[in-house]
Structures are given as C-alpha cells and as structure tokens.
C-alpha cells in the first residue's frame, strides 16, 4: 500500500470490534459506514454534528445538576423520613470509613459522568467556533480515557434493586432527582450510541482543515 505521507493514515480505519482495515470513503450527509466484515458502525457523517452534540451535552449537564441537587428516593421507616442524593451515597461510605469504595463510587457515579459532559460541551463549543485545536485534542484524549469508567446507567439500576430489597419494610417515594437521573442516563446512552469519539476526531479534522483553507 502506498501512502502520500503519514497524515494519510487518518483516512484509514481499523474496525474497533473485529480489527479489519478499511479505507475511509465519503458518505452522504446523515448516513453511516458499516464494517464489511462484522457490520458494526465505522463512522457516521452528519454535517450538524457540532450543533447537535452541543445541544445534547448542554441538556445532559442541566439534568445531571438537577439529579445531584434533589433527593433520589425518600423512605419512611419506623416513623422517620430518610432520603438520599447522589453525593450523599458516596459521602456516607466515607463517613463509615470505607474510603476505597467511597472514592470509587465518587468517581464512577459523579466525577466521571460530570466530566464527560463538561468535556463534550467544551469540545463541541470550541469546534463550532473553530478555536484552540491543541486544547480540543487534549480534551478528546482525556475523553477516550475516562469514557469506559462512567457508570450512571448501572447506578440507576442499582437504585431499583436496592428499593426492591426494602419493599415491605419501608414506604418508598421516588424523588425528583430519580426522574432527572433517568433522563440524564437516557441522554448519556443516546450520545454514546450516536456519537463515537472517532467521529468527533473526524469532525475536528474536517473543521480545522476548512479553517486552514
């Protein structure tokens, strides 16, 4: 295979699932390219990706903040009312001396999900403005590193499991934050499915190339 220079490697793609080598081809707006061997999505082309990503990450951030400010669940047990919030969940672990578990939970259900949305927001904003190519690069690298470590969805299911264990012992009321967390997780899953980090790299390359031209 002959290539112009090393930059030309940017137009090659190795499937993340089956590791087959592909050459990038231009596709129509709103369509996606699939791996010829395993059928998984290689990349999508959406000319509105930056706007779309910006709107989604801003909405996600708002719902995440709401999910952290209000009670997730309220219970009544022996005449006492108790409630939890997301931060309270890991702070309680610290209070009981479970520092490792507390720290891990803090990162998995609070710091990483928040960071991912803040990074996405800054990324799409800077890309839209076509500013600071070096900074967007660092953001993208950071994003790839922390992406697998965000577990809001798993935490949401855990709340339900915990409540099932309490049925019969306590009266349970879902709080506002539970529903905002549901929406946040929905946005998070939708974004991870629809916008791959590799597509943001492609967008970045395209936009800064336009800027140079």
């Amino acid at each position: 295979m002959k290539l112009e220079n090393e930059e030309a490697l940017d137009h090659l793609i190795i499937c993340h699932k089956c590791h087959t080598l592909h050459e990038e081809v231009e596709i129509e707006d709103g369509t996606k390219a699939l791996c010829s061997k395993c059928g998984s999505v290689l990349y999508r082309f959406d000319s509105k990706l930056a706007d779309y990503g910006l709107a989604l990450s801003a909405t996600g951030l708002i719902f995440f903040v709401l999910a952290n400010l209000f009670p997730l669940v309220k219970i009544e047990l022996l005449g006492h009312e108790q409630f939890i919030t997301i931060p309270k969940t890991f702070v309680a672990l610290f209070d009981n001396g479970f520092y490792f578990v507390g720290l891990m939970c803090a990162f998995l259900i609070f710091i990483f999900p928040l960071l991912i949305f803040v990074i996405n927001f800054m990324l799409f904003l800077l890309l839209k403005l076509r500013k600071s190519p070096d900074f967007t690069k660092s953001l993208l690298i950071l994003l790839s590193h922390i992406k697998p470590w965000s577990m809001s969805d798993i935490f949401l299911i855990s709340i339900l499991v915990a409540l099932v264990k309490l049925i019969g012992y306590a009266q349970i009321d879902m709080g506002v934050a539970f529903w905002t967390l549901v929406i946040f997780v929905g946005i998070d899953l939708y974004m991870s499915k629809q916008i791959h980090v590799s597509e943001i790299w492609m967008l970045r390359r395209r936009l800064y190339a336009q800027e140079r031209a």
């Binding site: 022996l78 939890i84 697998p148």
Partner: protein, 198 residues
Amino acid sequence: MIEVNEKELMRCNVCGAVNIDRGEVTPCRRCGSNIYHERFSTQKSWAYLLTAMIAYIPANLYPMLITKQFGSVEGSTILGGVVMLWEHGSYPIALIIFFASILIPIIKFLVLIYLLISVKYPIGKDSKIDKHKLYYMTEAVGPWSMIDVFVVAILAALIHLANVEIVAGTAATAFAISVFFTLLAAHAFDERLIKEYR
C-alpha cells in the same frame, strides 16, 4: 510517498488512530499514548488479574452488608444475599445479583486467563472462537458487576436510624478492589496480540 505493509498497521487502543507498527514501543502519532508491541506485554495484565482474583476470595467470605436492628447484628455475604432474595420470592433481583456479582466476575477471570494464555501459546489456534468478540463482550458486561457495591452504598446511605442501621461490610471493599483490578487487567490486555498470534 511512503510504502506501508497493511499487516503493519495497528489501531491505537486509546484514540483509535491507525499507526504504523515499527516493531518497538512508539507513541501514537495522534494522542501520544504508548503503542507497545512487545512479547511480554501480557505481564501487566496478568498482575492486575491475579490481584483481582485474590481480592475476590475475601469478597465472598466476608459480609457485604451488615444489618443492625434493635441490638442484634447480622451480616450477609454476597451469596447469602442472593439466597435471601430468592427465598423472599424476588427471583428477578436474585438473578440480577447472582449474574452481576458471582457469574460475571468468574466468567471475566476465565476469559482473560484464556486470552492471556492463548496469545502466548498455541492453544486454540485454529479454534472457531472469535477472540475479538469474546474480549469485546466481556468488556461490555464487566462494569455491571458493580451493581451490588452500589446497592450496598445506597442502602447504607438510606438506612441509619438509631435502632435500625445498615452498614457496608469488609466484602464491599474487597469486591470493589476486585472489580477495579479486573477492569484494569482488561484494559491492559493488548487486543492486538490476538491478531499477531492468530
């Protein structure tokens, strides 16, 4: 113009960029993370995996959850919790916890051991098992083993009255360590080795 051999192209684990394999440790041309290609790059993964497996033993022997009510203290292990849920008739939840806390970690250990051995020794060389798919699937289900740790955290934060209190047990820390190191082991596993020794 440069001439490259298609077989020498590899994907960066972190950013996905295509790089030329020069047969030595080189930084990725896009994100700068290490693209390694040594014969001994399974060592790190083995070390993490062994730590995870050792931590998994106390995680199952010690109580995960301790219930203190009206002076009596009762601890329940992971398996004990599953049995209790089953006896109470919460079959779906009992199954979820059983899969997440017991089956997934064990399957993940076995898959990683198999992958780590198979990329070094000619075991299952021509078998029909799709190793990439196997790796991808264990990666996808791995994080779900955190469910029980989160459940304990939620219950402990929710129930702390003077007479009735739930606190996390030693197993919570051991289990969290086990999950953490299993995830590290999977990330440290160089997926490209599958291709090389296929």
